[in-house]
Amino acid sequence: MWEYSDKVKEHFLNPRNVGEVEGADGVGEVGSMACGDALKLTFKVGDDGRIVDAKFKTFGCASAIASASALTELLVGKTVEEAERLTNDHIAEYLGGLPKEKMHCSVMGQEALEKAIACYRGEPDKQPEGNVVCECFGVTDRQIERALSDNA
């Protein structure tokens, strides 16, 4: 059994902001429809440049759900520039930590956020750096290394 923090459990059992924001300004999808875990993040930016609404849909384990839920909470009220500085480390920290085998679930959150911000700015999709080591999750070795060192 994974040792999940109470906060992870709480977010898993009562996830915030499930769904899709209507008329979203930013949309980020990561993961593969064909074979693995996936996360779709949508957000809306208000007139003051701050994120007013963020929602997620995910196909994934408890930590994927909790990470996505945490991410949406972290996003609301931030400017896009502030949001850009969020990493999976912040997500994990917000949740009181994640088991190291489950770090990729929070990485998925960070990835979706990067894509959603790129989408918001009208930038083309960036190819991830490093080698994709897990096709299912679309996770690269660089991302895993980063996740592990961020959380060491």
Binding site: V18, E29, A38, L39, K57, T58, A62, A64
Partner: protein, 394 residues
């Protein structure tokens, strides 16, 4: 919270009768069965009794039973014994849906100088017999096939295969860890050379197993040491565990009927009702030839761990993939071997019942699970898109 325990293929509750039988052998009759004096000799007698009871459950002779520490050790012992007894032969046959106890040993052998054939299964988890027989050769030392699959409950026709394998001069071993106590086994009437069982799957404690070795089968010990188990397994006997296994074997023989009637009926009710109430759900594995207690159901577009943890809130215990491979993030190798699509494999849950389950427990699961699946599907990006199309397409 008292658990609603539907994970009996992972492990079982030790029967209270078994605990009672074991208890005196910890602090009161703690002698070493190898000892010269009465205080040890009495323990040896009790082990003899346990050996006879275990043999009885299998329709075997007491001297054909070797006690081990678990199913895994029994499997390793069998396969290594067959290889050591036939040093000239370098080929092994097994299936690609075996428990890690056999699978990982097979992969080890493949890396260490043996040719290993992993026989495939079809979409229902049924063994490709033509493939197996086509690869059986004079070089085949051992064929190891599970009697019943731990994840799907699918039964392999091991008795028929053993006959052909035996004629061909190879040793036939079966991992019967999930079959013993659930399907009738009569070793006196088949040609299986070795058979592995594990105590904790039949209401004996964890940490004790047994290996049946047919009289006359060439044998070499896996665990070298003292003269215990007639020189076939070194190490001081797990006395209490063995006595517990003997008692559990006796109970299993008496409850086999109930397992195949009352337990089966509860399994069927659970399965049928869940399939009725939950769209895009399907059974994994051949329903026609299956253990009476097992049901593996795929709930498409949701993820197994999430289901398990939400069920955990109600004390419902089941498993996604086998307990032995949890802790890994991979979907089960058994479901992959059966070509179950990923969206379904990821959301597969195994329910495995025992005589300790009640109708009321089944009813509770039937009540609690459909809303859980619905809730998780609402979060799933796949579901919203697939819902319309899939509801009819599957």
């Amino acid at each position: 919270m008292k658990p609603i325990y539907l994970d009996n293929n992972a492990t079982t509750r030790v029967a209270p009768e078994v605990v009672e039988e074991m208890l005196p052998y910890f602090s009161t009759y703690y002698g070493n069965p190898s000892s010269m004096y009465t205080f040890g000799g009495n323990v040896a007698k009790k082990i003899k009794e346990a050996r006879a009871k275990t043999a009885d459950l299998l329709g075997a002779q007491p001297e054909e039973i070797i006690f081990t520490s678990c199913g895994t050790e029994s499997d390793s012992t069998a396969i290594w014994a067959a290889l050591r007894a036939n040093p000239g032969k370098r080929h092994v046959i097994t299936s690609n849906v075996e428990h890690p106890a056999v699978k990982n040993l097979g992969e080890y052998l493949a890396r260490n100088g043996y040719r290993v054939t992993f026989v495939p299964v079809d979409r229902q988890g049924r063994l490709d017999l033509d493939h197996l027989y086509a690869h059986l050769s004079d070089d085949t030392a051992v064929v190891s096939l599970m009697w019943a699959n731990n994840e799907t409950g699918v039964l392999f026709p091991v008795e028929a295969v053993a006959e052909r394998v035996h004629k061909r001069g190879a040793v036939f071993h079966t991992d019967a860890v999930q079959a013993v106590g659930k399907v009738p086994i009569q070793m006196a009437e088949n040609k299986i050379d070795m058979l592995a069982l594990s105590g904790h799957k039949l209401h004996a404690p964890k940490g004790v197993g047994a290996l049946y070795v047919r009289r006359g089968t060439k044998f070499a010990p896996f665990l070298l040491g003292g003269h215990q188990e007639n020189g076939r397994r070194g190490g001081t006997e797990n006395v209490a565990g063995i006595i517990g296994l003997g008692k559990a074997a006796e109970l299993a023989a008496a409850k086999m009927e109930e397992e195949n009637t009352r337990v089966k009926a509860m399994r069927d009710k659970l399965e049928q009702t869940l399939l009725e109430r939950i769209p895009n759900a399907m059974v994994n594995g051949d329903p026609a030839d299956r253990l009476p207690n097992t049901s593996s159901i795929a709930f498409e577009f949701v993820e197994g761990e999430s289901i398990l943890l939400m069920m955990d809130e109600f004390g419902i215990c089941a498993s996604s993939g086998s307990a032995c491979t949890s802790g890994s993030l991979e979907p089960s190798h058994v479901l992959r071997a059966m070509d179950v699509p990923f969206t379904a494999a990821h959301g597969s849950i195994r329910f495995s019942l025992s005589i300790y389950n009640t109708e009321a427990e089944i009813d509770l699961v039937i009540e609690k699970l459909p809303p859980i699946i619905e809730r998780l599907r609402k979060m799933s990006p796949f579901w919203s898109e697939a819902a319309g199309a899939c509801r009819t397409a599957v």
